[in-house]
């Protein structure tokens, strides 16, 4: 198989299409790694092309099957082996899936806790370290990590693209959920690096959709059907793992992200709620991970998945499943009951949308188009909820629910690779915004946001701080990301010390902390003493964030225990600032 990647077609075989492909060998590919399904798309010189696997699927199930000494990911779906994987094989305990929900999370995270009912093993100790995950191979649990699983999947995905275009692939644009922390982003990048892929950009999913929307609006303008005036779009994306909302203002091919918000709620939660509803002893029954229990858990999952899908078009569904061991589930589930069971999820979606509209300083009346994407946007309750909040009768129609994000990523891939199109269909730009506040710990345990959320990227902001003790010579800069008012409620990204601060009474020294995010979303923090100036002050420090690796849940506490408030900073009151 491997030698096929570099097969050079002879001259007589070179068609016009292949010539066009050869023009852009370095174009970055767009990848949408979904919790449930993945897809890959490439700008082929004329348009975005979604690639199909050997089973002719554009959306490929996200999993990696562990068997004896071979591994196969959902890209080929085991099609090259004796038989293709069925969903029941994926749920047999031998496959790892839902990587996107697990990656970069600590074992205290509630998402990891909720993943313990999956067929494969997710073991937690609840102490703020990486969870232990393992797949069943020959009746033994074999350990792995979400990064490794993702890397194996990406390797297969990369091979698919290389086979199709007959040249090596290096650069990629990946879509990620808005709710991903910077720490999780580094994990995704590491998985890509393991698979030999270089990440040009990590794009929040709804912003990729916004780029596609901008292209479509430009196309309408070219065809003299658009008005050219600014259009406000609310993009709602909900897949199996995450829910994201973005508000974008689009005109002239430029789509400016006005606000972003997201949460870790998706189809997986809906599925688990329904499973618990159908089988009240669900948690206690499946906690043991014995062979027969894994099997009945798989059967229940398949039946529930099927029911949830059918309820998008049917008013009610009859579920009859024999779980083995004398356990049966037979029930008629109506749509109203389904909606009652998932009430909390719909409320959370509502909160995220309201938050996004509030942050964008817009009223529902200002919205021109409501774009619904992701598998869960097919659920009637979700549709009516989003449209209701935006006071719209219908959603934007000319976008594919499952292909929009990956198509946007492929467009960004072409733009970021410097490809231009004579017809102007790549004259596009998305002005990204930061999804979360970035700041440092100051005034005790308070979180001082330096770059507030929804700031346009690239961005640079700074803030002045001062010492909290007389003759304080060292200060700790602890960098956090999140929405909490207290520093400890947020994600700790890293920390460093400013040393050699000139001796002075407390509050007399001015320390500047500057945060810089470049177009590739790399965060750098600069800090140093700005007053008093002179040869006695130390040079500034530049630190690329995040600096922390695993177990960062502990670091904040360890720092507090070690230093107390000795190295604390305080925000310099505005009246003292120049």
């Amino acid at each position: 198989m491997a030698e096929q990647f570099y097969t050079v077609a002879s001259d007589s075989e070179t068609t016009g299409e292949e010539k066009a492909q050869q023009t852009f060998p370095d174009v970055a590919i767009g990848i949408d790694i979904g919790t449930s399904k993945c897809s890959v798309a490439v700008w082929n010189g004329h348009q975005v092309e979604l690639l199909k696997n050997t089973r002719s699927q554009k959306g490929m199930r996200s999993y990696v099957m562990f068997k004896d000494d071979t591994l196969s990911a959902g890209v080929t779906g085991g099609a090259t082996k004796e038989h293709a994987h069925e969903e029941r094989d994926v749920l047999s305990g031998s496959a790892i899936f839902n990587m996107k929900r697990l990656i970069g999370r600590m074992d205290t995270d509630e998402v990891v806790q909720a993943s313990k009912t999956l067929p494969f093993l997710v073991q937690t100790l609840g102490i703020g370290v990486r969870p232990f995950i393992a797949a069943l191979v020959n009746n033994m649990w074999r350990s792995t990590t979400p990064e490794e699983v993702l890397a194996i999947f990406l390797l297969e995905l990369k091979a698919l693209v290389e086979m199709h275009y007959k040249h090596p692939v290096r650069n990629t644009i990946l879509t990620i959920p808005v709710a991903f922390s910077r720490f999780q982003q580094t994990r995704i990048e590491r998985a890509c690096a393991m698979a030999g892929l270089h990440v040009l950009r990590l794009m929040p999913e709804p912003t990729a959709v916004a780029l596609l929307y901008a292209q479509q609006q430009q196309q309408l303008l070219h065809d003299n059907m658009g008005s050219g005036i600014e259009k406000i779009a609310l993009i709602f994306n909900m897949g199996a793992g995450y829910c994201d909302v973005a508000v974008s203002a689009t005109a002239g091919g430029v789509s400016q992200i006005r606000a972003l918000s997201g949460c870790t709620v998706g189809g997986e939660d809906i599925l688990q709620n329904v499973m618990r509803h159908l089988h009240p002893n669900f948690d206690s029954l499946f906690a043991g991970h014995t062979m027969d229990r894994i099997k009945s858990m798989g059967l229940l999952r398949i039946a529930t998945q099927d029911a949830v899908h059918k309820l998008t078009t049917q008013e009610s569904i009859e579920i009859n499943v024999d779980l083995g061991g004398g356990q049966k589930v037979s029930k008629v589930l109506g749509r109203a009951e389904f909606e009652q069971v998932n009430k909390m999820i719909f409320e959370e979606c509502e909160r995220v949308i309201k938050q996004c509209l509030h942050d964008a300083k817009l009223a529902p009346e200002d919205i021109n188009d409501v774009i619904l994407v992701g598998g869960c946007s097919r659920i009637p309750k979700i549709r009516s909820l989003v449209l209701g909040l935006c006071k719209k009768a219908d959603s934007y129609a000319s976008i594919d629910v499952l292909e929009a994000a990956v198509s946007g990523a492929a467009l960004e891939g072409a733009i970021a690779s410097g490809v231009t199109d004579p017809s102007g269909s790549l004259d596009l730009l998305t002005i990204q915004a930061t999804p979360m506040n970035l700041g440092i710990r100051a005034d005790g345990d308070t979180f001082a946001a330096i770059i507030p959320r929804n700031t346009a990227v690239p961005a640079r902001r700074d803030m002045l701080f001062t010492t909290t003790h007389d003759n304080q010579t060292e200060a700790l800069v602890a960098v956090y990301e999140g929405e909490g008012k207290q520093a400890e409620e947020n994600h700790l990204l890293g920390y460093f010390k400013i040393t050699g601060i000139p001796a002075a009474p407390k509050g007399a020294v001015e320390i500047n902390v500057c945060m810089d995010i470049d177009a590739a979303n790399v965060l750098r923090v600069f800090a140093g003493v700005v007053k008093p100036q002179g040869p006695a002050t130390p040079p500034f420090i530049e630190v690329r964030m995040p600096t922390l690796d695993d177990g960062h849940g502990w670091c904040g506490q360890a720092l507090a225990k070690m230093y107390g408030g000795n190295l604390d900073l305080a925000v310099l009151p505005k009246k003292l600032q120049p």
């Binding site: 196969s72 005109a251 400016q256 004259d427 730009l429 690239p458 700074d462 750098r524 500034f540």
Partner: protein, 132 residues
């Protein structure tokens, strides 16, 4: 592809050094300090000059100018390193907000008055000198 060899490669990969990204720029501390003391008119250019619009420009004109220039200075679309876009966005963010724009206009006017006053004073002395 699914053979064990490829898996082994993944496992062995171990400590991964992330390649330096395209467009990553080093920002010196001095520049950070310069940004810290950002006065209304940095380096002699007002927000209006950055956007290339007149002082009486409407919100629509400001928005259009922002979009047009963003396509030139944003690192994703043009050849900028981000500095230009940060300046442009700061100008746009101030002028697109009615309150902030009014405050900015007052500050700039005050700045020009202060700058103008000593100049006219000097000119008068120069004229007096000439009379002598």
């Amino acid at each position: 592809m699914a053979a064990f060899a490829s898996t082994a490669a993944v496992v062995v990969a171990g400590p991964v050094v992330l390649p330096c990204r395209k467009g990553a720029r080093r920002c010196v501390a001095a520049r950070a300090i310069a940004a810290a003391v950002a006065a209304p008119a940095v380096a002699g250019r007002t927000h209006y000059e950055v956007l290339g619009v007149g002082a009486g420009a409407s919100r629509g004109e400001i928005k259009a100018a922002y979009r047009r220039l963003a396509r030139e200075v944003h690192p994703d679309a043009g050849s900028g390193d981000g500095e230009g876009f940060i300046r442009l966005h700061a100008a746009y963010a101030t002028l697109s907000d009615t309150d902030q724009r009014a405050r900015y206009d007052r500050e700039v006017a005050a700045l020009f008055r202060r700058a103008a006053a000593p100049a006219s004073f000097r000119r008068r002395t120069w004229e007096t000198d000439q009379c002598w």
